[in-house]
């Protein structure tokens, strides 16, 4: 796997794992799993590749997605993940209340804004 692709996917994987951990603290792993399944289904109507996201009670992984990106580097990964994250946070806000969801979003923004911008520049 090329280093750039590995890095590109790696950042999103870290972001999703952070989201997973932060949400499961409040919702429990069952609800988070269901939430991911729901958002994957919705995003898959536009981006089939999101189905390559692997998730279970133990967490989330982008390994298969990275392999697909290796074959098709034109995959609109940024758009796909942004849509995923936006929908995820929208539903999360209904479950936790907007204030707590905003807290999680803000924390993720602070931690990953730099990395995400960098990934877009590459």
């Amino acid at each position: 796997m090329s280093e750039i692709i590995e890095k590109r996917i790696g950042r999103y994987e870290t972001l999703l794992k952070e989201m997973w951990t932060a949400s499961s603290k409040y919702l429990g792993t069952f609800s988070v799993n269901l939430l991911v399944e729901r958002v994957v289904w919705e995003v898959s109507l536009e981006y089939k590749e999101i189905e390559l996201l692997q998730y279970d009670q133990n967490g989330i992984s982008c390994a298969k997605m990275a392999a697909r990106l290796e074959e098709n580097p034109d995959l609109p990964v940024e758009d796909m993940f942004m849509k995923f994250i936006t929908r995820y946070v929208e539903i999360l806000a209904r479950l936790l209340g907007y204030e707590r969801a905003e807290e999680i979003k803000k924390k993720l923004d602070e931690e990953f804004a730099g990395d995400l911008s960098a990934s877009r520049e590459e």
Binding site: L27, G28, S31, L34, R38, S44, L45, I91
Partner: protein
């Protein structure tokens, strides 16, 4: 998200397909959603439209109003003329049961379709385009519907599995509300549980959901009576719900469907469950939701029953205080906490003087009244953080976390005085109290033994006294 949840079609992919079809048939195609709002763009640049709208998008208010009005009044299909004289064929997309949107087919060039033959040829072409597009949309709809059903069934399977293994009421409530909000994109979901002659909201999530928690609705309230008058769910408007405490000022987006399910088991009413979803679930969706609700009802009934049994097992029926069974566990936990955080802990041992004689003289019912009133006097004399237990027949233990022996003695004296001065029926009642402060390495038994010993000394001093353990 479209109003129709299931018609989630990425416009950019759709536009490619539509444009290819338009080029192949040499006709212009334009699609509106179920509300008459533009979904896709004109596939080919109609000369007149380009002139009017300066591009391919509909920007002219006159055009937008015309199409919105045309979509609103279209029954199945019609031949229309736009405000600029462009003739077009309009079709309603979807089935009789479910409206998806509207299709407009116009000639690729500006023509008034003056010739009869020309018009017939165009109508035939437009109809073929309609059939193709309607088939594609139906297939997409079917596929999306299957995806949603799969999600629902997976969730029902998982939840049924989990609900047979979870008995904690809070977790069951959390699971139910979370799952419904996630699967159905519900704006609001709430669960009310029956407590005697009322429904008390135990969980609420989504818009204003937390405001509902703790609200009580009497079973005799006309709206609640209406909900429980049948087994099927009630479809209610937000205006109807506003008569219930907690819903005042709550708004709902247009088109929101609010369903309230009465939760029944063979033993009677368990509670109710409300869900406000932005779209109609349809027949199959409603059936799946009903299956889910049935599982949820059984899980809630089990969890409620177990919680009640647990509470009853811990509580003294007569006084409402903790009973002797849980006293040891509670005191052990408090001793551990006091040792870990280094704060004081004291215990009061209270024994009602000559209670046996009172019981023998005035009867057990009169004795029960004394016990209940004494418990009330104790409760009124201690803090909410203090823990009162009924230890035996006429013996009470009061645990005072964060309190030194001297301060506990002041509390004990307050209790003693309040009992002494209270006008009990038949005769005056007094109590003897022993106070002990926990020492390092004290066990439950050693601490209780010292408090008991102090109480015994108070009795020795002629009753209606209190003694502080000197050690």
């Amino acid at each position: 998200m479209h109003t129709n949840l299931l018609l989630s079609v990425p416009v950019r992919y759709w536009q490619d397909f539509q444009d290819t079809l338009a080029r192949a048939t040499n006709a212009n195609i334009y699609i509106f959603d179920a509300n008459g709002a533009p979904f896709s763009r004109f596939s080919l640049p109609a000369e007149l439209c380009q002139e009017v709208n300066k591009g391919r998008e509909l920007r002219n208010e006159k055009c937008i109003d015309f199409y919105k009005l045309a979509c609103g009044s279209l029954e199945e299909k019609d031949m229309l003329t736009c405000p600029y004289g462009l003739k077009l064929c309009a079709y309603r997309l979807g089935s009789y049961a479910q409206r998806i949107g509207y299709l407009m087919v116009a000639p690729s060039r500006h023509t008034t379709l003056g010739e009869r033959e020309e018009e017939i040829a165009f109508i035939t072409k437009a109809h073929n385009i309609y059939r193709t597009i309607n088939e594609v949309f139906s297939a997409i709809l079917e596929k999306n519907l299957l995806g949603l059903r799969r999600l629902e069934l997976n969730s029902i399977y998982e939840i049924s599995r989990l609900m047979t293994s979870i008995v904690e009421l809070d977790r069951v409530l959390e699971l139910i509300t979370n799952s419904l909000i996630i699967i159905y994109q519900a704006d609001l979901c709430f669960v009310g549980l029956r407590e005697g002659d009322k429904i008390r909201v135990a969980q609420g999530k989504g818009v204003n959901g937390s405001q509902l928690i703790g609200k009580e609705w009497p079973l005799v309230h006309p709206l609640i009576e209406r909900i429980f008058s049948k087994v099927e769910p009630s479809s209610l408007s937000i205006e109807e719900l506003r008569v219930l405490p907690g819903f005042t000022g709550t708004e709902a987006a247009p088109g929101t469907e609010i369903m309230v399910y009465p939760l029944w088991t063979a033993l009677g009413i368990v509670g109710l469950l409300g869900i406000a979803a932005p779209v109609s679930l349809g027949d199959n969706g409603s059936k799946n939701l009903q299956i889910y609700i049935n599982f949820a009802t059984v899980a809630l009934a089990n969890a409620t029953l177990i919680r009640r049994l647990e509470r009853e097992a811990e509580t003294d029926y007569l006084t409402g205080f903790l009973n002797r069974r849980v006293l040891r566990d509670v005191l052990a936990a408090e001793l551990q906490r006091a040792a870990r955080y280094g704060y004081h802990l004291s215990v009061i041992f209270l024994d009602i003087d000559d209670f046996k004689a009172y019981n023998d003289t005035f009867g057990h019912l009169a004795g029960d009244v004394v016990l209940q009133k004494t418990a009330e006097l104790i409760k009124n004399s201690i803090r909410t953080t203090d823990i009162a237990c009924r230890y035996g027949g006429e013996e009470f233990i009061i645990i005072l976390p964060g309190t030194k022996g001297g301060d506990a003695a002041k509390v004990a004296e307050r209790i003693r005085k309040s009992i002494e001065t209270y006008p009990f029926p038949h005769r005056r009642i007094t109590a003897s109290l022993g106070v002990a402060q926990a020492k390092k390495n004290d066990s439950v038994d050693s601490l209780l033994a010292r408090a008991d010993q102090a109480c015994y000394q108070a009795k020795e001093r002629g009753k209606n006294h209190l003694c502080l353990d000197p050690s």
